[in-house]
Symmetry: C2
Subunit: 264 residues, 2 copies
């Protein structure tokens, strides 16, 4: 079984990519809607939340965990791997950085939450695979609430796209990594603003591709696949978003996280 988790509903873009390529795979997805968003919280808090999320999907049978959240991938991957040494973890940062490096070009743009951008992880990983590349980052903190409000094709969203992305367009980046799993919902508007020459990289797709290459057996079709979607805070809104994004009815189950160690 494949485990996936995210700070909320954004990681369902990764589930969508999974279902496109392996509609009959077993998976368990956890969205931490009770504590969403992660992107403006501290590294320590994000790390703690990621450990609890991972524990949940592993407890429910995950043999591989896809960290479907850029913020958690940026801040918590080493700690996750250390805490669960027998489970492989794949984050969204490395596959996206590799995809950007593979495209060549000397300037790579990255957009993400404040926490992801402040971590500097994309710069580090892109330059590992493309040592000469210049990485230009921009935090886009309003994109998540705009997506969650469903304002995908709205005047306000267009203004914010222009405002956040103008420096990247002016810098003539050759590719742009969507470093947050909410952002694929704005992909066509972002592509339009950046122009056809800029290759926009959706981390949801590339992470599923990498996971399938490394762990093909987990993606084989099952006769009666177990496909579980859980949220720490269930609401009709997350079900509605999930159903519309995945194109089928979703009724999220209520996830109970294991209690944290005493912190009084």
């Amino acid at each position: 079984m494949i485990g996936l988790f995210d700070s909320g509903v954004g990681g369902l873009t990764v589930v969508r990519a999974l279902l496109e390529k392996a509609p009959q795979a077993d998976f368990v997805y956890l969205g931490d809607t009770a504590r969403t968003p992660y992107g403006n919280k501290s590294p320590e808090t994000v790390e703690r939340y990621a450990l609890e999320d991972a524990e949940y999907v592993i407890r429910h049978g995950a043999e591989l965990v896809i960290v479907a959240c850029n913020t958690a991938s940026a801040l918590a991957l080493p700690k996750l791997q250390e805490s669960f040494p027998n489970i492989p973890f794949i984050g969204v940062v490395k596959p996206a950085a590799q995809a950007a490096a593979a495209l060549g070009g000397d300037k790579v743009g990255v957009i993400g939450t404040k926490a992801t951008v402040n971590s500097g992880i994309y710069e580090k990983v892109v330059r590992k695979y493309a040592p000469g590349a210049k990485v230009i980052q921009k935090a886009c903190p309003l994109f998540v609430p705009l997506v969650e409000e469903g304002m995908l094709d709205d005047q306000v969203t267009k203004i914010m796209i222009r405002r956040y992305l103008t420096p990247l367009r002016q810098a003539n980046v050759s590719s742009l990594i969507l470093g947050c799993t909410h952002y694929p919902f704005l992909k066509s508007s972002i592509q339009r603003f950046m122009g056809k020459k800029v290759k926009v990289i959706d981390s949801a797709n590339v992470v599923i591709q990498q996971a399938m290459e490394e762990y093909p057996a987990l993606f084989l079709p099952k006769q009666d696949p177990k496909q579980l979607i859980a949220f720490t805070d269930t609401s009709s809104n997350s079900d509605k978003l999930a159903s519309s994004w995945l194109g089928r009815p979703v009724k999220g189950i209520k996830a109970e996280l294991a209690p944290e160690p005493v912190r009084v």
Copy 2:
């Protein structure tokens, strides 16, 4: 000692109102920045968080708890009072509703988070004090992220004010309750859009006024006042916001909440 809590930094508007009227009072403020925002989460989750927040300020000496968060006031007040029967709780809903009722007028506007608006609490409480009044509500989910981004006087904020408030202006409300502690930061823009005739009610001021009337002894000046500001997730951003809002340097201390009962 006075206790106050909020889902994050917004409740500092209540602390600001407190410091204006009683600069030498003892208080402890908790902002639950690790789980902010509350306004789009479920009633069960908001209730659970409010109990933990209240426990923290009571553990630190609070003899009165001001629930400086409209969402928690709307959803958790009965449970809080039941769980801590010896501590008085004052929420922001009742004082704001009473202030609106006292102004007269047959149409009262209320803006707040989705959770506050969906709870219907303002309608219920306003009509308790002004039985004939019509209450017109509107959820303004983007206001919180806009305020947290410091976009107080921004083109995008003006567009959203126009979009959210046009129905209230068209309905000719005579007063408008700012039913979220973040909204006072937009008060002048909101007042400008609604027009001079509309009385804009800031729940931060009215809740402090009511608390002072009911518990005057707690607001007396102390010689060496204990004034504690704590966050569940400390970051330079919350310190920066708090310092600018309170007009003095703030270094938030890291709050450790008591562990929840086992929920596996």
